[in-house]
């Protein structure tokens, strides 16, 4: 990926998978963008929980914590 692309993108990480998404989206929109339901995940940036209506900045790395459990 070129430096220019990195500038315009952010990444979402979930269970070892990395997804590249456009910067500028709200986190919940980015989660929808990769085909997931935002309500089922908590976003963590630099080890800190962040509200999912926050906008992604270029280069942001967001770890998604799956919240659904049961059986």
């Amino acid at each position: 990926m070129s430096e220019r692309q990195v500038e315009k993108t952010a990444t979402l990480k979930l269970r070892g998978q990395v997804y590249t998404v456009p910067a500028g989206l709200r986190i919940r929109e980015a989660i929808q963008h990769i085909g997931l339901t935002p309500e089922s995940y908590l976003p963590v940036r630099d080890g800190e929980l962040v509200p999912d209506d926050e906008r992604l900045k270029p280069g942001d790395e967001i770890r998604l914590v799956a919240v659904i459990s049961g059986g």
């Binding site: 089922s40 509200p51 209506d53 926050e54 059986g71």
Partner: protein
């Protein structure tokens, strides 16, 4: 940037159904206060009662135990080692986390080791029995219910507390409504009253969304088992939760309304056992002739019948 409604600091979470954003300190405070309100609202238990918290090593059970401890309730833990490995050492890791949690807070944790007590773990019990058609979840539920009740009764606890959250409850309600399982629907609620031989059961986290209990565990720094039970894959409850979360996405507050309005309707008498028309329903309970626990049919309870069946099969395979 989203700000904390209480202090204006940067928020760590925004709960759309409450239109409420909170910072870390105020979220942790809010969560504890709301739990106390729920305990009072549904008259779950008092501070002079002895509580036994069913602990799985997951986020919900550790979160509820943490909150009860902070609120000053007499709450001990019960961990049931199920003997599930699934290639990830699932039971061993959950037990380690439950023990670590208890040790860090100086709390008492009782451990029941199913393979140690009964000779077989859940996967093997399920394999040898006719229950569940290859899925061990039904055997697991039966064993856990029996052991939780046995421990609560034998050790003199007044209330058995579980970490069920609103998503758990809504998924069960949704499943039961799809099938119109009225027998289950009329019994569902945040508290199940005590009956002879059965401790009262209470679910203090019943008003929180699952992402809120996860947020509490993360923000409090509680280390919990993140991996799902290897047998939970494809479970109907998880499918319902996903569906309901998609609905929540479009209609914030839909899950909360579904549950709260159900409880309200129940309180107003819209869901009632039809037999109640002839007076209060008296469920006749018998003592299991093997373990002594209450059972609806004379003879042995479902747990002892399972153990007999498995024992008979184990013996048969040796001959």
């Amino acid at each position: 940037m989203r700000r904390c409604k209480k202090c204006g600091a940067p928020a760590v979470i925004y709960m759309r159904q409450h239109r409420l954003g909170l910072c870390k300190a105020h979220y942790l405070e809010w969560f504890v206060e709301q739990t106390e309100r729920t305990i009072r609202r549904y008259r779950m238990f008092r501070r002079d009662e002895k509580l036994l918290v069913a602990v799985s090593g997951g986020k919900d059970s550790l979160a509820v135990w943490d909150v009860l401890w902070r609120l000053g309730y007499q709450a001990d833990g019960l961990y049931i080692a199920l003997g599930i490995d699934g290639g990830i050492g699932y039971s061993a890791e959950s037990q380690r986390l439950a023990e670590k949690f208890a040790q860090e807070r100086g709390l008492t944790l009782h451990i029941v080791d199913i393979p140690g007590e009964y000779g077989l773990g859940i996967p093997e019990l399920a394999r040898r029995s006719r229950r569940g058609k290859g899925k061990p979840c039904s055997v697991c539920g039966l064993v856990k219910r029996h052991e939780m009740n046995r421990m609560a009764h034998d050790m003199g606890y007044d209330v058995l507390v579980t970490g069920h959250n609103l998503d758990d409850e809504v998924a069960v309600l949704f499943g039961n409504v799809l099938q119109w399982q009225m027998g289950y629907i009329v019994r569902q609620g945040p508290v199940l009253p005590e009956e002879p031989g059965f401790a009262r059961k209470a679910k203090p986290l019943v008003r929180f969304y699952e992402r809120e209990t996860a947020a509490y565990a993360l923000l409090r720094g509680i280390e919990y088992i993140y991996d799902e039970c290897p047998f939970a894959q494809g479970a109907k409850s998880i499918y319902y939760k996903e569906l309901l979360n998609r609905l929540e996405e479009e209609r914030p507050g839909a899950k909360l309304q579904f549950y709260v309005n159900f409880l309200k309707a129940k309180e107003e008498g819209w869901f009632r056992d039809p037999r109640e028309a002839a007076g209060p329903v008296q469920v006749v309970l018998h003592r299991c002739e093997s373990c002594g626990q209450p059972t609806t049919a004379p003879g042995k309870c479902a747990f002892c019948r399972l153990m007999d069946q498995v024992g008979a099969q184990a013996q048969a395979s040796r001959t």
